[in-house]
Symmetry: C2
Subunit: 278 residues, 2 copies
């Protein structure tokens, strides 16, 4: 199978979006913004032997490659519009593997209204995939990491410590519902201890954590430090009620920026730092 | 050096753009479109041992990683606005190598007004880099591959057959000057024979090529079939004059869509097909 045939197959699978005025097949894709939109962009890689093993089901990998980026769109309170997919695969992966990978990716794309606007296909020794997702929020309404204030309550969606191989359910609806309400928001991808530290650094505040909701079968250790939860971490002023499906885990306090206590003790940051020691 | 320190270093090097209302450091970057803009998007990878060798100067690699995408923005008649860079590097590349890579990339970014809005840094066994570039054209004014008509003259910018290791000079000014004038345009990345075929397929036309401008030191074979020229290939109605720095190489004719003759003989397509035989 040659490149043209593969691209044609992907094009047939691709969801088109109303604002994608030119999709796969030219030098660039074209997106026509609506007035009053702020556009959100996120790129994130999935690398063989770093994020996954070759023998994992390709449909799950495709779902995850898109899902982890959609989780960032959710964290900003955004609505996804389109994605671009750059995929490099070894010899022999251009047939059924590729087909299943794109079917997994496109199933989540359809569910979330994310058009596949373009991408690139290359051959390499190992599987490597970068997905870019773009979404939008009403102008000036994006949820940032930097707005948490002393007195705010801290929440997470879902339960933490999820096994990495599960499908990602990006919390898009929750994210949108937090616009104009949450003072800060981010998604949990590198572990609560590291991500909450980052949110506190960005906001110039400290945090006390009292408890965390642990998913069935996981340890507290994993819920505190394990990555790849893809839940939302956010802060709300005390006067606002907890959104459905979320748990209040503690509160924002004045203090050294980034300092986090768990049940009164400093919480070590053992989350995933891609370059610790590099 | 840990991830935070590296990201902070990149952030200091990064050019900010007036429409990038949020840059490196949150879950997503934010771009605020101007009214009447159509936005262009292109993603393209650079993979060690596929597109380059590890011992090549990192500043040149950074320049190329951005330049090849800017060439696609030029081919649509666009003005670049920002890029996102996903880079995976092996142990030991987080210091000087990374610094030089970003300096090469940012030098071209500054020259072309391309902000570095965000990205990702990972560790992998081999170097892998995906760059996404976004640009804009006035609404509906993008140059496409699909508008060439019988009777149009075919042009290329510069001279063909360039050695792959030279710096890329994306033809942004030329591309913008062709808006509203060229009937079709694309950039030459996989070789004239293959790329002109693609343009003709997209336009449903055939082409006759009389001559090609060959760069000094290159063979005609390389000018016809070698990839990585990053020049523009475009068509103009006969009544329009040749833009400076371009050469008329032939004409568009009626015929089997995609058929290309060189001096009366069918031109074989020996350009770079990433998946021929896969």
């Amino acid at each position: 199978m040659n490149e043209l045939a593969i691209v044609e197959k992907i094009r047939r699978l691709a969801l088109r979006g109303p604002q994608i005025t030119l999709g796969i097949g030219d030098d660039c894709a074209i997106y026509r913004p609506k007035s009053g939109e702020d556009l959100l962009f996120k790129i994130d890689p999935m690398i063989e032997d770093v994020h996954f093993r070759r023998d994992q089901p390709p449909a799950i990998l495709g779902q995850r490659a898109l899902g982890r980026n959609l989780s960032d769109i959710a964290a900003m309170g955004g609505t996804p519009h389109f994605c671009l997919v750059s995929l490099a695969i070894p010899d022999g992966f251009g047939g059924k593997w590729l087909d299943q990978f794109y079917r997994g990716l496109m199933a989540l794309a359809r569910k979330t209204g994310t058009a596949l606007a373009g991408g690139h296909l290359a051959r390499a020794e190992k599987i490597y995939c970068d997905v870019v997702v773009s979404g939008s929020v009403p102008r000036g309404k994006a949820l940032l990491r930097s707005g948490a204030r002393p007195g705010d309550a801290i929440y997470v969606s879902g339960r933490l410590g999820k096994a990495w191989h599960k499908r990602i359910q990006p919390r898009l609806e929750l994210g949108r519902s937090l616009r104009g309400r949450a003072t800060s928001c981010m998604d949990l991808s590198d572990g609560l201890s590291l991500d909450l530290h980052r949110l506190c650094v960005a906001s110039g505040v400290a945090a006390n954590v009292d408890r965390v909701p642990v998913v069935r079968g996981a340890t507290l250790e994993r819920a505190l430090h394990g990555g790849e939860d893809y839940e939302l971490l956010f802060t709300l002023p005390l006067r606002l009620a907890a959104p459905p499906g979320t748990t209040r885990i503690g509160g924002i306090v004045k203090g050294s920026a980034g300092a986090v206590l768990y049940q009164g003790q400093p919480l070590p940051r053992r989350g995933y730092d891609h370059f610790a020691g590099a």
